[in-house]
C-alpha cells in the first residue's frame, strides 16, 4: 500500500493515525484495569471461565457481541454428536509446519504438544485440531496482514492433526512473533498460536489462542484480558517442558485443552459401533 520498507526503515507513519487507533495504550489499559477491579470486587463462588463477549477495550467487539442473554436449551440429537474426520481429511505431514516448503523457515523451531480432553477428563480421540499462526517476525501469510515485517517464503503457518487415542496432538513449528494491530495506538498482540478444536459433541466446538509463558504483552492485550478471571486466562498459556525439548533440535511446550459442553450420550455410543 505504501512504500516497500528498506533495511533501515522507520515505522510507517500511519501506524498510530488510523481510524481505530484513536485511543492510547494508557486509555485501553485503564479500561482493562477498571473491568478487572469490578470483577474482583463482585467476586462470586463461580469464577468466569470464558471471555466476555461484551468487552469494549477490544474495539471490534463493540458492534459484534449479542446484547441479549444466550438462550438456554437442551441439545437435540444432532447437537450431541460431532462431525467426523479421518485420514482422508488430514495427512500426517500436515502437523509439521517446518517442512511445507523447499527450505527451512527462520526462527525458533519448537514442538507444541498436549491432549484434548472433555470436562470429565476423558480424551477426545481421533478428532480434528487445526492451527494457524504468524511467522517468527510476526507476519501472517494473509492478504490483509499489512505489518511491515518480512514474509518467510518457507513458512505458511497452517497445520492440521488428528488426535490420537489418548487425545494427544503434536505440532512441529516455529515460535511466532508478536505483531502490531490497530485496536489502539501502539497496540501489540502477545505471541500466540490459533487453535480450532472439535469435541465429541457439536456443542463443544471451540476456537481459541495459545500463548507463551511470561509474555510482557499480556497485561496490555484486550483480547487476552477479555477473560477477566486470572486463573481462566492462565489456562491459555502453555508450559515450557524440557521433556519435549530435543537435543540440538527444538524447544518444547505442553498445552492441554479442556472442552466444555455436553458429553457423549447412549445414542452416540450406539452409532459408533
Amino acid at each position: 500500500m505504501t512504500t516497500t520498507p528498506t533495511r533501515d526503515a522507520q515505522p510507517p507513519a500511519d501506524t498510530t493515525s488510523s481510524d481505530a487507533a484513536a485511543s492510547s495504550q494508557a486509555d485501553v489499559s485503564a479500561e482493562i484495569e477498571a473491568i478487572a477491579e469490578k470483577y474482583q470486587r463482585d467476586a462470586t463462588d463461580r469464577p468466569e471461565t470464558q471471555p466476555r463477549l461484551d468487552y469494549p477495550p477490544y474495539r471490534s467487539s463493540i458492534l459484534r457481541h449479542p446484547t441479549k442473554d444466550l438462550h438456554h436449551t437442551d441439545p437435540e440429537a444432532i447437537e450431541t454428536v460431532a462431525p467426523c474426520f479421518g485420514h482422508q481429511d488430514v495427512d500426517v505431514l500436515e502437523s509439521d509446519l517446518t517442512i511445507q516448503h523447499g527450505g527451512e523457515p527462520i526462527g525458533e523451531r519448537m514442538v507444541v504438544t498436549g491432549r484434548v480432553l472433555d470436562g470429565d477428563g476423558r480424551p477426545v480421540a481421533n478428532q480434528l485440531v487445526e492451527i494457524w499462526q504468524a511467522n517468527a517476525a510476526g507476519r501472517y501469510i494473509h492478504k490483509r496482514d499489512q505489518h511491515h515485517a518480512p514474509v518467510d517464503p518457507n513458512f505458511t503457518g497452517v497445520g492440521r492433526a488428528l488426535t490420537g487415542p489418548d487425545g494427544s496432538y503434536r505440532f512441529t513449528t516455529i515460535k511466532p512473533g508478536p505483531y502490531p494491530w490497530r485496536n489502539h495506538g501502539n497496540a501489540w498482540r502477545p505471541a500466540h498460536i490459533h487453535f480450532s478444536l472439535f469435541g465429541t459433541a457439536f456443542t463443544q466446538r471451540m476456537i481459541t489462542q495459545m500463548y507463551f509463558p511470561g509474555d510482557p504483552l499480556f497485561a496490555l492485550d484486550p483480547i487476552y484480558q477479555a477473560i477477566v478471571d486470572q486463573q481462566a486466562r492462565d489456562r491459555l498459556v502453555a508450559t515450557y517442558d524440557h521433556e519435549v525439548t530435543q537435543h540440538e533440535w527444538n524447544t518444547g511446550y505442553r498445552w492441554d485443552i479442556v472442552l466444555t459442553g455436553s458429553h457423549s450420550t447412549p445414542m452416540e455410543r450406539e452409532d459408533d459401533q
Binding site: Y55, W132, S196, V258
Partner: protein, 189 residues
C-alpha cells in the same frame, strides 16, 4: 447438569487472519451444487448497525434428508457423493455466505428439522451457537420446544425463508433483530 472436575479452556476470537488457514475448497458444498435435491443456504452476517461482517466464518452440522445423523469422515476432501453433514463457509466482502446442502429431515418424530450453526468472527470473542429451522406453519413452530420458549418476536430469527431453491437466513450479531444464540447444559459463563 453434571459438575465438571476440569475447568474448561477459554475460547478466543478467530481474529482477522484465519482466511488462508480454515476455509478450504468445497467446504461450503455439503452436496455438489448440481444435485437434484440440493438447496442453497444463503444469507448475510450483520453487526449491530446492520453493516455486513466481511470476516465471519460459519459452520453447519445437520442430519441428511431422511433425518439420519451420519458419521462419515471426508468433509475436508469431499469425494463428490458422501454426505458428511458438515460444512464451513467464510463471508465475502459484502458479509454474504453460501452453502449447498439438502433440507434436513426430522431426527425425531414430531419435531421440526433444523441445521445447527456455529458463528465465528473477528471482534466476536467466543463462538456462538444457533439453529436454522426450516419454515413450517405457525402452529408447528409454536409447538417446537425451543421456539415455544422464545418471545414471538424473536422466534423468527431462527427460521429460514424458503423460496424453493434457497433457504435464506441472516445472522444478526446484535440489534433489534439480534439472532437468538444458544447455550447448552455444561457451558459455563
Amino acid at each position: 447438569m453434571t459438575t465438571s472436575p476440569l475447568p474448561p479452556t477459554p475460547g478466543q476470537t478467530i481474529g482477522p487472519f484465519y482466511g488462508y488457514a480454515l476455509p478450504y475448497d468445497d467446504g461450503q458444498h455439503l452436496v455438489p451444487p448440481g444435485r437434484a435435491d440440493a438447496v442453497r443456504l444463503i444469507g448475510r452476517v450483520l453487526d449491530g448497525r446492520g453493516a455486513p461482517v466481511p470476516d465471519a466464518m460459519l459452520e453447519i452440522w445437520q442430519a441428511d434428508a431422511a433425518g439420519r445423523i451420519v458419521r462419515e469422515a471426508g468433509s475436508l476432501h469431499r469425494d463428490g457423493h458422501t454426505f458428511t453433514g458438515w460444512g464451513r463457509a467464510a463471508t465475502d466482502n459484502t458479509g454474504r455466505y453460501s452453502f449447498t446442502t439438502v433440507r434436513p429431515g426430522a431426527s425425531r418424530h414430531g419435531r421440526l428439522p433444523f441445521i445447527a450453526m456455529t458463528v465465528f468472527a473477528r471482534g466476536l470473542l467466543n463462538r456462538l451457537f444457533t439453529r436454522v429451522y426450516l419454515p413450517a406453519p405457525e402452529s408447528a413452530l409454536a409447538g417446537e420446544p425451543l421456539l415455544a420458549s422464545l418471545p414471538p418476536e424473536r422466534r423468527g430469527t431462527l427460521v429460514a425463508e424458503d423460496d424453493g431453491s434457497a433457504l435464506h437466513f441472516d445472522v444478526h450479531l446484535q440489534g433489534d433483530r439480534e439472532t437468538v444464540f444458544l447455550t447448552y447444559p455444561g457451558h459455563a459463563p
